[in-house]
């Protein structure tokens, strides 16, 4: 039975897999897609959830976007940080955002975080890890603050503090050393910023600025570029005082004597 029959019967269609394997063996290099080699973190504090992310998007070894947004809106009370392939995180969070909105209209109630979680994990599991999206999902709903991580293959965790992305180890070391239960908002924001900065300064895939999002019962506070520790310093790096360069000779030629000003016709429009 040819592999293509799978699609006709409603299962997975693997008809291109052998071709792709053959191409890779022949030496074809696949395109380098935009990744968010990243540091994303989340933390539950006494009043809610704080999400944090860096702002660097890489394409191979190049920084493609110095200030991208990695904290995606899912619902007024739910936000999701995304690491992995940028297109995948954007598309999957977009899809869940629209589905959640329709669900809110249908039910007449606010969205719950576990609804978003179930939608995300079902979708990612269906694609068996090929949708490369690693997410930190956080929000505050009727049953309190929630923080989850979602892995590309579809597994999830429910945690009091979480980190994902290439800078996750650096950020996790800050969290493990500094996390306490029931922190205040200032302590929580400071710890999250420290964790993202650890990723920015110790991981090559993360960099630029720190974005924060604080979600509580009252609502959300989206702090875009909350910290900018990598500002570009635009100075020449030198100043020369007047008179620094000695003037050896001066020659002034008035151009007025050499220019002929004559009338002409206007151009055709």
């Amino acid at each position: 039975m040819a592999q293509g029959d799978g699609a006709a019967l409603g299962g997975f269609d693997y008809s291109n897999c052998r071709r792709n394997q053959m191409l890779e063996k022949a030496g074809i290099k696949l395109d380098r897609y935009l990744k968010t080699g990243t540091t994303i973190v989340g933390l539950v504090y006494q009043d809610g959830v704080i999400l944090g992310a860096d702002t660097r998007a890489t394409e191979g070894d190049i920084v493609a976007d110095k200030n991208c947004e990695k904290i995606h809106y899912l619902a007024p009370n739910i936000y999701c940080c995304g690491a992995g392939t940028a297109a995948d995180t954007e598309a999957v969070t977009d899809m869940v955002r629209t589905q959640l909105e329709l669900h809110r209209y249908a039910t007449g109630r606010g969205s719950r975080v576990i609804t978003a979680l179930t939608m995300l994990k079902s979708h990612l599991f269906n694609y068996q890890g090929h949708v490369s999206a690693a997410l930190v999902l956080g929000g505050f709903d009727v049953s309190g603050p929630h923080l989850h991580t979602v892995y590309p293959h579809g597994s999830t965790d429910t945690l009091p503090f979480a980190t994902m992305g290439s800078g996750s180890l650096a950020a996790m070391s800050v969290f493990e050393a500094g996390f306490r239960e029931k922190m205040t908002k200032e302590e929580g924001m400071s710890l999250v910023s420290d964790a993202i900065c650890a990723g920015i300064f110790n991981d090559l895939g993360s960099g630029s600025n720190v974005d924060l999002c604080v979600i509580t019962k009252a609502g959300k506070e989206y702090l875009r570029n909350h910290m900018t520790p990598n500002q570009r310093v635009i100075t020449k790096g030198y100043t020369f005082k007047r008179g620094h360069t000695p003037i050896l000779s001066t020659k002034i030629v008035p151009l007025r004597d050499r220019v002929d000003v004559s009338e002409g016709e206007a151009m055709e429009e």
């Binding site: 576990i114 979680l117 179930t118 429910t158 009091p160 180890l169 996790m172 050393a177 650890a198 110790n202």
Partner: protein, 256 residues
């Protein structure tokens, strides 16, 4: 830098025709060199503090994913002025220890009232590691060497391919990812012994939580002008009682 087994196997296919490969009687090429580590030690941490150097390591030597030896001393004094700590293949570490013992013994036999300082021993180590790497038969270790001589503190690292450098705080293995960010933030040049030990314990705890090949049994080595002391094994208090871990699906009945 740690080397993955895959990267080394790729190099091996290039080096198969060079040294270390002997044609046996059946015509096949038999490779006679280290290809992967078997009994491995995890991270080692090192920092400079006000009076000298502190090194810390756990006492585990794993055999793949089994924690085979739980009282393996991975920190060792070298001569009067230095201490060495190694991660990676433990048999290669024992070989290196023997080499360093011979070196310091010969130095002592000169009886010229001068002993090898940490910088010299580090140079010797660098040469050994690099020469073995050139023969495609590395000593599969990442080594930290710290010492104090004539009031000058020295802390250096060598990797299995011969990459070496000095710094105020160093780490091997997972310590590079989990401990160095914390060390970069918290380290100060004028730390007292208590502050230094507290900082190391903080990093060791993070490693115990997040590195699967570590155990909660550590030694700390202290080098000062007076000499080298290695502490007896101790454990660090861990906290698993976070409220959020008690019932993770409290608000999501039936969640998976």
């Amino acid at each position: 830098m740690e080397h993955t087994i895959e990267a080394f196997k790729r190099e091996e296919s290039l080096g198969a025709r060079h040294s270390g490969a002997a044609a046996a009687s059946d015509g096949k090429i038999h490779i006679e060199r280290t290809q992967y580590p078997y009994v491995t030690g995890s991270s080692v941490l090192g920092i400079k503090y006000k009076d000298g150097i502190l090194l810390a390591a756990d006492m585990a030597a794993s055999y793949g994913s089994t924690k085979r030896y739980k009282s393996f001393q991975r920190l060792k004094p070298v001569g009067k002025h230095a201490v060495i700590g190694a991660s990676g293949e433990m048999s290669d570490f024992q070989q290196i220890s023997t080499m360093l013992d011979e070196l310091t013994l010969r130095d002592q036999m000169w009886d010229d009232s001068n002993t090898l300082g940490p910088h010299e021993i580090h140079s010797y180590l660098n040469r050994i590691m690099y020469q073995r790497r050139n023969k495609f038969d590395p000593l599969w270790n990442n080594i930290i060497l710290g010492g104090v001589k004539n009031g000058k503190k020295y802390l250096g690292v060598v990797s299995m391919i011969g990459v070496h450098f000095e710094d105020d705080h160093v780490a091997t293995g997972f310590g590079q990812h989990l401990a160095r960010p914390e060390l970069r933030k918290q380290w100060r040049a004028d730390m007292t012994l208590e502050e230094g030990v507290r900082l190391l314990e903080k990093c060791l705890l993070v490693l115990y939580y997040r590195d699967r090949s570590s155990i909660n049994k550590y030694q700390i080595a202290k080098v000062t002008e007076e000499g080298v002391t290695i502490s007896s094994p101790f454990a660090i208090e861990t906290n698993w009682e976070l409220e959020a871990f008690q019932n993770p699906t409290k608000n999501a009945e039936g969640s998976w």
